[in-house]
C-alpha cells in the first residue's frame, strides 16, 4: 500500500489536517471526521480493514475535489482516507474545506463525504466475533 495524495496507512490527525487551511479571505473551515465504531446493523464490530483500488481512488478523489470547487467557491479542500487495519475509535477519513462563508463550507463538506462513500473504490471488511465480512451496503 502506497502513501498517496489522499490515501494513507498511517493514522490521520483531524486537527492538523484543518489547521492552516483558512486563508485571510476565509471565514469558515468545515471538517468531517469518520471514526470506526463498535457496531453495525446491530452486530458488534471488533475492527475494520479498508482496501482500495488505489490508483483509481486517488484519481476519483482528485475529481471530487475539482467538482466541489466548481460547485462552491472553496479556497481549499483536503481529503485523507486511511487504509489497512483500523481499531475501534480510530479515524478512517477526514475531509476539511475552507471557504469565505459557512454555507459553502458545510454544504461542500457534506457533499464530499456522501459522494466519496458512493463513488470512490474503497472497500471495507468488518470483523465480528463470528468472522469477517465485506460490507456491501451504502449507509
Amino acid at each position: 500500500v502506497a502513501e498517496g495524495r489522499h490515501l494513507t496507512t498511517e493514522p490521520i490527525d483531524p486537527a492538523s489536517t484543518a489547521i492552516g487551511l483558512a486563508g485571510a479571505e476565509d471565514g469558515a473551515v468545515a471538517t468531517f471526521t469518520g471514526v470506526v465504531r463498535n457496531h453495525h446493523d446491530g452486530r458488534e464490530v471488533l475492527w475494520l480493514e479498508y482496501e482500495a483500488y488505489e490508483e483509481m481512488a486517488e484519481r476519483q478523489i482528485d475529481n471530487l475535489i475539482a467538482e466541489a470547487r466548481r460547485r462552491w467557491p472553496l479556497s481549499e479542500a483536503v481529503i485523507r482516507h486511511r487504509l489497512g487495519h483500523l481499531n475501534i475509535g480510530e479515524v478512517s477519513v477526514v475531509i476539511a474545506v475552507a471557504a469565505p462563508h459557512r454555507a459553502e463550507a458545510l454544504e461542500s463538506c457534506r457533499w464530499l463525504i456522501d459522494t466519496l462513500k458512493a463513488e470512490v473504490p474503497i472497500f471495507k471488511r468488518e470483523a465480528h466475533a463470528v468472522g469477517e465480512v465485506w460490507v456491501d451496503d451504502h449507509e
Binding site: Y53, R59, S92, K117, I122, F123, W134, V135
Partner: protein, 81 residues
C-alpha cells in the same frame, strides 16, 4: 486482445487473485470478459448485480468494448468513509 482484470474485496477472495490476464476476442465487452471469468469462477457470477466495472480507472457501462491492454476492474460495493 489481451486485458488485465483487477479484483478487490470479496471477488478477489473468490477468484484467489487480485490481478489476472485474460485473452478475449476482438470486440469483446466488459460484460463478455466478466462472463468468461465467471465460467471459471461460478461464485463470481452471483455477484454480478452488485458489481460495477471500470476500464482504465473510469467507471463505464458493461457494454463498453475492451481495447488491447485495457485494465478492467470489477468494483464491488464501495464502503469508504
Amino acid at each position: 486482445v489481451k486485458v488485465t482484470i483487477l479484483l478487490f474485496a470479496r471477488p478477489r477472495e473468490v477468484v484467489g487473485a487480485g490481478k489476472l490476464e485474460l485473452q478475449v476476442e476482438m470486440g469483446s465487452t466488459a460484460a463478455t470478459a466478466f462472463q468468461e471469468l465467471a465460467v471459471r469462477h461460478p461464485r463470481l457470477a452471483e455477484m454480478r448485480a452488485n458489481l460495477r466495472c471500470a476500464v482504465d480507472q473510469e467507471y463505464v457501462d458493461w457494454e463498453t468494448a475492451l481495447h488491447d491492454g485495457a485494465e478492467l476492474a470489477l468494483i464491488p460495493p464501495t464502503a469508504g468513509g
